[in-house]
């Protein structure tokens, strides 16, 4: 009981601690995550890069370091380590940074920008321009841009539109054209005029008063052409774009941490403490004989044990999750996403049920209290900790990172653990990776849906069957 309260307080405290306060333009936290934007479309007529950095609230951020890097020949990869640092510039008071004469200095190079100080939700708006120098004026070009949406369904199109003076372009139509046969894209980039038919039928929304536009795009293609059209304006505008896997920010940060870090650790431990001795202790202390010699059915006793253990887990769980949500709300100033709160609850109830059934089955099959505890702890360590490492190991044996075999292994092997199934269920409700002070989490790669359904069902049915079978034919029967 006391341990349960301490654990609950730990979760609440942890959740509170990693939740950022309301975003303030003057406080840019230090982050170690590298966001890399890659620009292959530099050429003789577009020799320069300009980047504009703004907070999600539209504030232009000054003094932010931006690194110009050059690819050193290897394929653009997820590790992002094969780059050579060329220059570092800081953003000016308007949030702008520029790198001129790139084509002359680094002809035929693949260049990129890295933002070592930034994480997730900050917007980095970049354009290539013929000449970028103050005073910033409309360039008369760059009305379209190719966005390569990476390898996750969680990608969100996040854009901010502004002119070169940093004036936001509000109420502008955003049009999207999906590039067919996208496998040939984005490198090398198709040049030339935007595709035919840039009409309002491609409109997916309009920018807000700060010039921001955020829209999740379906994951059935790898590249989009995006164009902004501002009705009533004749001049063309520079439009910056940044594709991102938007990290979770604001009120969802803490809850996501709780969901990814705390719940899958603490919930199985508490369920172990409640379930490992549910049958084995009754056996060893002799209470089972009195119980089973009463006119009660053995399956009824089993059901009672399940309800008892799961109920003892779910009630505190609901209190902790809703308590966390309320704390987070109070700290961040906005309510956490409803689907995250209820998705977390649903996934956590599943996790509690799966582990409880597993430990109950172990408890009913074990010969003694000691062996029940030992087996339960071993299973917990196996599924709660080591299995994710084993999955990576198997994936690396199945093929090189990123290959079909590797991908299949890394998305399917984790499902052989209840924790893996939990993470998959959770991934339907978490919109991306989350970074906090000194910690970060990654949303797992999504497994194929039929596998998730099969694994989720199996992790309930198999231990349930074992437990029921043991209660009927093994416990006090042989």
């Amino acid at each position: 009981m006391i341990i349960g309260v301490i654990l609950a307080l730990a979760v609440l405290g942890g959740t509170y601690a990693v939740t950022p306060g309301p975003i303030s333009p003057t406080s840019v936290p230090k982050f170690v995550t590298y966001n890399l934007t890659y620009y292959p479309d530099l050429n003789a007529t577009h020799p320069a890069l300009a980047a504009f950095i703004a907070s999600p609230t539209g504030d232009h951020l000054s003094g932010i370091n931006v690194q110009l890097v050059k690819e050193t020949g290897q394929r653009f990869g997820p590790t992002g380590t094969r780059f050579q640092l060329l220059q570092t510039n800081g953003t000016d008071s308007s949030g702008w940074v520029r790198f001129n004469q790139l084509w002359t200095s680094y002809p035929n190079s693949s260049l990129g920008l890295v933002y070592p100080d930034l994480k997730g939700s900050y917007f980095c708006c970049v354009s290539t321009a013929a000449a970028i120098s103050p005073p910033y004026k409309n360039t008369g070009s760059a009305t379209w841009h190719v966005l390569s949406l990476g390898d996750s369904s969680k990608e969100t199109l996040s854009l901010v539109f502004t002119d070169l003076t940093g004036q936001p372009l509000s109420s502008a139509d955003v049009l999207v054209w999906r590039v067919p046969n996208a496998t040939s894209l984005p490198y090398p980039l198709e040049k030339g005029s935007p595709p035919d038919g840039w009409t309002l039928k491609y409109k997916i929304g309009t920018t807000d008063s700060s010039g921001f536009f955020i829209n999740p795009l379906p994951y059935d293609s790898w590249a989009y052409l995006v164009r902004v059209r501002s009705v009533g304006l004749n001049s063309t505008f520079l439009f910056g774009s940044f594709y991102t896997t938007p990290s979770i920010s604001g009120p969802d940060t803490g809850l996501t941490f709780a969901a990814v870090l705390f719940v899958p650790t603490i919930l199985p431990i508490v369920s172990l403490a409640l379930a490992y001795d549910a049958i084995s202790r009754e056996k060893s202390e002799g209470t089972l004989d009195l119980l089973l010699s009463k006119p009660v059915s053995r399956l009824g006793v089993a059901l009672g044990k399940i309800l008892g253990v799961v109920g003892s887990l779910v009630v505190p769980l609901l209190i902790v999750v809703f308590g966390s949500a309320a704390l987070v709300w109070g700290r961040a100033g906005t309510a956490p996403t409803g689907s995250l709160v209820f998705g977390l609850i649903g996934s956590a109830v599943y996790l509690a049920l799966a582990y409880s059934l597993l430990f109950l089955a172990i408890s009913s099959l074990s010969r003694s209290l000691g062996s029940a505890l030992l087996s339960s702890v071993l299973f917990f360590l196996m599924f709660g900790f080591f299995w994710s490492l084993i999955a990576v190991l198997i994936a690396n044996l199945a093929g090189p990172s990123g290959s079909v075999g590797w991908f299949q292994a890394i998305t399917i092997i984790p499902l052989f653990s209840p924790t893996g199934v939990y993470q998959q269920l959770l991934s339907f409700f978490i919109s991306g990776p989350v970074f906090g002070p000194n910690v970060s989490t990654e949303a797992p790669l999504q497994s194929p849906l039929p596998w998730i359904v099969a694994a989720a069902t199996a992790w309930i049915i198999v231990p349930l069957f074992l437990f029921a079978w043991a209660m009927k034919y093994r416990v006090s029967q042989s």
Partner: protein, 311 residues
């Protein structure tokens, strides 16, 4: 009506060579106080566990209250009170809380439950200790709590595994008098024991179990008497001589006569007529009888004789 009945009930434990219970055919009539007697390891507890659905029989069938315990366990257990040899209790529940919990399992009507539990606690002498944790009870108190639990549904059948094992003499006496009382109320009681004396004094019928096999079922007296041909008469005399011994040996029915100074030990089929004849012969021959004592053969002798010392 047979309250307990078994047909060829057999249990062979996994890895066990010989059956722990071997083709047991047992029939217990309603109203009996049946003692299931046998040494440790004879198979008493195994039999009781099979009757109480706590163990699956290898072959054979067991009926409690007419219900096959494997096929209709709930019906069979409905009106049965059971006290295991080592009843276990939940470490965080008091005696009274245990009774409330068991009452739920029996599905007893809640309205009169508090009074019923109070009466049961008084009956087993635990009313004072009702709100103490049951784990802190002495062994005797634990047995009595289990017995109170067994009496919750007001059962017509009580099954007790070694009810007085490990108790102090006072505790034993308490349990025995309670059992007699419960029997007098018309309940059938089936108890296992390896205390011969207890069974002999208490039970109306005895089943002798040895090495998993039922050797004999009868009243304690009948079993004792069946070995009475080996019984003995001890007579303390004055003026006895070897001639008298020779005369006594010639009496029909006397198998052996020994003289130890003034003490005569006479064995044989000592019927009342024979004893009278022996007395007459002694007096006629001028022997004074100071005392005469018939050594009754106990159930213990019968048991040892029936199991041929294999105990």
């Amino acid at each position: 009506m047979k309250v307990i009945e078994t047909e060829g009930l057999t249990k062979v434990y996994k890895g066990g060579q010989k059956p722990a219970v071997d083709s047991l055919d047992l029939q217990i009539e309603g109203g009996e106080l049946f003692g299931f007697l046998g040494p440790n390891g004879a198979g008493k507890s195994t039999t009781i566990r099979m009757l109480m659905t706590l163990l699956r029989a290898s072959t054979g069938r067991a009926f409690v209250r007419g219900y096959d315990v494997q096929i209709k366990p709930l019906e069979a257990m409905q009106q049965v009170g059971f006290v295991p040899e080592n009843p276990g209790f939940y470490h965080n529940l008091t005696g009274r809380q245990h009774l409330n919990y068991w009452a739920e399992l029996y599905g007893l009507d809640r309205s009169a439950l508090a009074t019923r539990i109070k009466k049961l606690l008084e009956r087993v002498g635990l009313f004072e200790a009702r709100d103490k944790l049951a784990k802190d009870y002495s062994l005797g108190m634990k047995r009595r709590l289990a017995l109170a639990g067994a009496l919750l549904p007001d059962p017509q059948l009580l099954i007790l595994d070694e009810p007085s094992l490990g108790l102090d003499p006072q505790g034993m006496a308490f349990v025995r008098s309670l059992l007699v009382e419960l029997h007098q109320e018309g309940r059938t009681i089936f108890l296992s024991s390896h205390f011969l004396g207890e069974v002999e004094r208490l039970c109306t019928k005895v089943g002798l179990l040895s090495k998993g096999k039922l050797i004999r079922v009868d009243t304690p007296r009948a079993i004792s008497q069946s070995v009475s041909d080996a019984s003995e008469l001890e007579i303390e005399t004055k003026g006895v001589g070897l001639t008298i011994v020779e005369i006594l040996r010639k009496i029909e029915g006397v198998s052996r006569v020994e003289l130890d100074r003034t003490l005569l030990r006479i064995s044989g089929a000592l019927t009342e007529e024979l004893i009278a004849e022996i007395n007459r012969v002694l007096i006629v021959n001028g022997v004074s009888i100071i005392s005469s004592r018939r050594q009754e053969h106990s159930l213990e002798d019968a048991f040892l004789s029936l199991t041929k010392g294999e105990v």
